[in-house]
């Protein structure tokens, strides 16, 4: 049963148990329970501490390069011929994506907690690079778990992490991709309980991670709201973002949750198509279950075994989704659309040619749904799209699909 939120109460979650309605919670082996609880307390204290927030704000401004611009995409707007389209330029952040907002917050928290060793999981390597970056900046040792298959597919990011001083451990268990990397990071954490901080890269995992990562990413939505009010004198009519684990989407959605005139659209990866079993759309193609510490929509078989996800974009290639999205879907506050590999590739090229911005394949999933989203808000509408990352990392994938050698 899901608690149906009162109007204008959507942003008040999670509850004291870390639940968004029936989703979220704290499902970890007993060995980790005291650690996760300690983390929850430490985060609550940091959140309320102005000194912590000021320190974080300073690093976001001077190191990450915030605020990121809210840019009126004139030619995309003309192309779709309807609502005005604004791009929230997260791809201009240091390391080229929104991931660093969360990493900066968590590394400051880890140091505040006296932790001396950082571990992380990564799929495409974007979160791994962002984690390795902040570890280099603050001089902390860093171990990144990455599926052996992904280590092969994403060699440039492996080199980046190594240059930044991180140790990349290829994970060969299971299917050797992101979910297995996450399992392995949990195992490391359970083994090194005293000194290690697990820096999760998306708004999923046991409480407090979904809420904490969301809070660190909410800077995106807070800025976008103020920037839109400045540019247009009113709120947008729709906000759209791609959804892997869901951190860039919840980051831009959250400050708008209680503004019910603002429609929220998340875009899941449909891979080869929703009529195949090769996709990564947990909400559109899965059902609720428990994995990696939280209850949420998951791709799973009849018996409850977790299925491998597929997406052309490694950052969306995960069989689950953050629990707050599951809840927003169930209560109807946000709408979750899908986008296939081919549609994302086309959208990447469209944005590149019309705006001179090469978007990440992940963000291209959101771009691909602009037609529907602009139509949903009408000609006078205002749309904000979260351009979560830049596409330089995806050039090899794009080249392969275009039949080009690089």
């Amino acid at each position: 049963m899901n608690t149906i939120a009162k109007p204008n109460d959507f942003s008040a979650y999670p509850d004291a148990h870390g639940r968004f309605g029936d989703y979220g919670g704290l499902y970890v082996p007993e060995i980790l329970m005291p650690l996760v609880k300690e983390l929850g307390e430490a985060y609550a204290a940091a959140k309320a501490d102005e000194g912590f927030q000021a320190e974080l704000g300073g690093f976001l401004k001077h190191y990450v390069g915030r605020p990121s611009p809210l840019y009126f995409a004139e030619r995309l707007t003309a192309h779709f011929g309807g609502a005005k389209i604004y791009l929230k330029r997260e791809e201009l952040n240091h390391t080229g994506a929104h991931k660093i907002n969360n990493c900066m917050g968590q590394i400051l928290l880890a140091m505040r907690m006296g932790k001396t060793r950082i571990i992380a999981e990564t799929g495409a390597g974007q979160h791994g690079v962002a984690t390795a970056t902040v570890c280099a900046r603050f001089g902390l040792p860093c171990v990144v778990y990455m599926g052996a298959v992904d280590v092969e597919r994403q060699a440039p990011n492996v080199l980046r992490m190594n240059l930044l001083g991180a140790e990349v451990r290829p994970v060969t268990s299971g299917a050797a991709t992101l979910k297995d990397a996450m399992n392995e990071a949990m195992r490391d954490w359970a083994t090194n309980v005293h000194d290690t901080y697990y820096l999760i890269g998306t708004a999923a995992g046991p409480h407090p991670y979904p809420a904490m990562v969301r809070d660190f990413q909410a800077v995106i939505g807070i800025e976008a709201k103020a920037q839109m009010l400045e540019a247009e004198g009113r709120l947008p009519d729709a906000v759209v973002a791609c959804v892997g684990g869901g951190s860039n989407a919840i980051g831009i959605f959250h400050p708008f949750l209680d503004d019910e005139s603002v429609k929220l659209f998340g875009v899941e990866a449909a891979g080869h198509g929703m009529d195949t079993d090769q996709h990564a759309a947990a909400i559109n193609g899965g059902r609720p279950g428990v994995l990696h510490g939280n209850k949420t929509y998951l791709l799973q078989d009849r018996d409850g075994q977790i299925l491998e996800a597929h997406s052309i974009s490694a950052g969306l290639d995960y069989p689950g989704i953050g629990p707050e999205h599951s809840w927003l879907h169930d209560v109807g506050r946000a709408t979750y659309l899908t986008c296939t590999d081919d549609e994302a590739l086309e959208a990447l090229q469209l944005c590149t040619r019309l705006e001179g911005i090469i978007p990440a394949l992940e963000s291209s999933h959101a771009l691909a749904r602009l037609d529907e989203v602009t139509r949903a808000v009408g000609k006078d509408g205002l749309v904000v799209l979260n351009l979560s990352g830049r596409g330089d990392k995806d050039l090899a994938t794009v080249a392969a699909h275009l039949g080009r050698k690089i």
Binding site: E30, I31, P34, N183, T191, G304
Partner: protein, 275 residues
């Protein structure tokens, strides 16, 4: 009631003045027929209780041996129904050896707590350990298991302090499973000296027998732990025998039972009596 099968077994062990030997095997590993053969052979090899793993695709508290066992079982087509079938067939020939299922929450949740509890009880299951379901999240599952007479067995660990031990041991029955190492199964070795005070602490807090597992591979280590605990669980070392037997093209069942026999012998001879 099925719970009493666990109680009866521990009462008898207490009278005999010795600890229990509790082997862990994965249902369906390497296939349903071999796993059933192993299961049927374990009581004669000296098993006092048996833990039966049900496979999950993402076993986050498991080290490589049990991870691989789960993958072998899944590759062989193991489902919750085939697991319960194996137990049902075991029960046809053995009414006394308690069977404890051990696995991950998503499989239980997927069946539904009520249906899982009823189906498990009907198959002859006595207890359930769900690795990734802490007491805070276990309410509805505990209700369903209570109603079906299946014991919910809890894990205590080196990170469980006295305050938390109260939470962990509330609403538990049968015995408490003490995880003797910080980490996953089958990697680190348990330190018997550190285990003794922990077992005493858990026993005092719960008033239940305490089983120790997660870092016991050899007969020597099993004997050392048997001197201080009420039960000794060995999993990865047995499961590894299956992997080895497959690699060497030998009879997996025979190898596992031989190793189980050696471990049982050393547990049985560890302690003649404890007052």
């Amino acid at each position: 009631m099925t719970v009493s099968r666990i109680e009866a077994r521990f009462a008898r062990l207490k009278a005999e003045g010795r600890a229990a030997f509790v082997p862990y095997i994965m249902a369906g590993d390497p296939d349903a027929a071999t796993a059933l053969k192993i299961l049927k052979g374990l009581p004669a090899a000296g098993a006092d209780l048996i833990e039966v793993g049900f496979p999950f695709s993402d076993p986050m508290a498991e080290g490589p041996p049990i991870q691989r066992a789960a993958l072998r079982a899944l590759a062989a087509g193991t489902t919750l129904d085939t697991v319960l079938d194996t137990i049902r067939q075991f029960r046809e020939g053995d009414q006394e050896t308690p069977i404890i299922l051990m696995g991950y929450l998503n499989i239980v949740l997927n069946r539904g707590f009520k249906a899982f509890a009823t189906d498990a009880a009907a198959a002859g299951v006595d207890g359930l350990i769900v690795v990734d379901c802490p007491p805070e999240e276990a309410g509805p599952m505990a209700d369903a298991l209570d109603a079906a007479g299946v014991a919910l067995i809890r894990l205590a660990t080196p990170t469980t302090d006295d305050a938390r031990l109260k939470v962990v041991t509330a609403r538990t029955s049968g015995f408490v499973y003490y995880v003797s190492v910080a980490g996953v199964t089958g990697v680190k070795e348990a330190d018997a000296a550190a285990v003794a005070p922990a077992v005493a602490r858990v026993r005092a807090a719960s008033g239940l027998p305490v089983a120790v597992g997660f870092g016991i591979r050899t007969p020597e280590r099993a004997a050392a732990v048997a001197r201080v605990a009420d039960a000794v669980v060995v999993g990865s070392a047995l499961v590894d025998e299956i992997a080895d037997a497959i690699a060497q093209n030998r009879d997996a069942g025979a190898k596992v039972l031989e190793t189980a026999g050696a471990l049982a012998k050393s547990v049985r001879s560890a302690r003649v009596s404890r007052d």
